[in-house]
Amino acid sequence: MTFPKSSDRDCVRAWDAMPWVLQNSATQEQGEWLENHLAQCESCRTEFAQQMRLRKAMSLPADISIDANVGLRRLLGRLDTPDAEEAPYRSRSRNWLSRALVAVGLIQALSIGALGVKLWSTGGSPAYRTLSQEPVPATTGTIRVVPDAAMTLADWNALLHALRLQVVGGPNDVGAYTVAPMSSTSTTQALQQLRTTRGIRLAEPVAVTP
């Protein structure tokens, strides 16, 4: 680096003053001092000559030709449609945000579509039945059970759980339930155990008519 030595304070001072003397913003005193210093210092004289050349080069008009009238027409057109023109201005700076929102929207739409297809393919019959619906026709292996009126709900539930039975119908007008054994339980065993259980007034297999 060929920057003046720090020991040469006058050259440093001259270096600092040059830009402001060149743009006429230095005080008269600064200007006169620099003029005197340049008369004695060849190095600073060379530097100042180069600074003058730099200033001259920087003052040349732009070397890129742009028609001001064309630009102004575009700007005035933009003022006439502020919303339409402001939108792309904003969208440039928030482009990533718009893209992210569009991506999220697409993912949501695809997910909803996939869910719809899945529900449609599982069929229209729900996995539950309301009490107002017609009872499901009895199937083979079901048992009709009449618990005692004094039997508590907790005891009834515990019994069904122990015998691995589930209620598929009832209670009807006389308080009879239709229960069906779960997959691994045999109807005969369940029937026998029901009949021996205290609190069960009746346990009979359902006769299915073809």
Binding site: M1, T2, F3, W15, P19, W20, L22, Q23, N24, S25, E47, Q50, R53, L54, R55, K56, A57, M58, S59, L60, P61, A62, D63, I64, S65, I66, A68, V70, G71, L72, R74, L75, L76, R78, L79, E85, Y89, R92, S93
Partner: protein, 194 residues
């Protein structure tokens, strides 16, 4: 600030005040008045004419919107340059990965009316500025090209005066080291350059 600068600022403030009431004629006057210096200022950031025009229009779009809120804390020229600088940086971020080569047609247009001496000066300067960072080029343009003070540049670049001083110092040292060696190059050599 000399008398001419003061007169120019008074005129600019009047134009801004008219702009704040929706006067498009005032906008047109201010636009034409600053177009040349903004073109040169922004050409230190990018060589793409389309981007420069876009930034100038973005700058005046903001000025049009905010003319009423200009409180006169600085000169109008300082305020406008600050807007242009920020719009220019935003454009650089958006178009930074795009080609920024010189437009040959533009060079040809400029070259038609350029004197040989001016062309040589431009070439010399251009090669020197290639060694500087964007912020250093901006400081050099604002101080040597436009004639702003350190305080003005600090307002435009929204940074402390000490930062401006450091950028100016490093830019000058770099130019001091490279410009003398470039002085001997003639513009004709550019055609043979890789």
């Amino acid at each position: 600030m000399n008398d001419d600068d003061i007169d120019a600022d008074v005129t600019d403030r009047m134009l801004l005040q008219r702009m704040s009431t929706g006067d498009r004629a005032a906008l047109s006057v201010l636009y034409r008045s600053y177009h040349g210096r903004l073109c040169r200022f922004l050409s230190r950031l990018t060589r793409r004419p389309d981007v420069i025009e876009e930034v100038i229009n973005d700058c005046f779009w903001v000025a049009w919107q905010k003319a009423g809120s200009f409180h006169g804390d600085s000169r109008v020229s300082t305020w406008l340059m600050g807007i242009a600088y920020r719009c220019g940086l935003k454009a650089l971020r958006q178009h930074g990965d795009e080609p920024v080569e010189d437009d040959p047609q533009s060079e040809q247009r400029t070259g038609d009316h350029d004197l040989d001496e001016d062309r040589e000066l431009r070439d010399w300067l251009s090669k020197g500025l290639d060694h500087l960072s964007v912020d250093q080029r901006v400081v050099i343009e604002l101080v040597y090209g436009v004639g702003h003070t350190l305080d003005d540049v600090a307002v435009i670049m929204q940074c402390p005066v000490g930062t401006v001083k450091a950028r100016l110092f490093h830019a000058r040292v770099k130019l001091r080291n490279v410009l003398p060696a470039l002085a001997g190059d003639s513009p004709k050599h550019k055609e043979n350059a890789p």
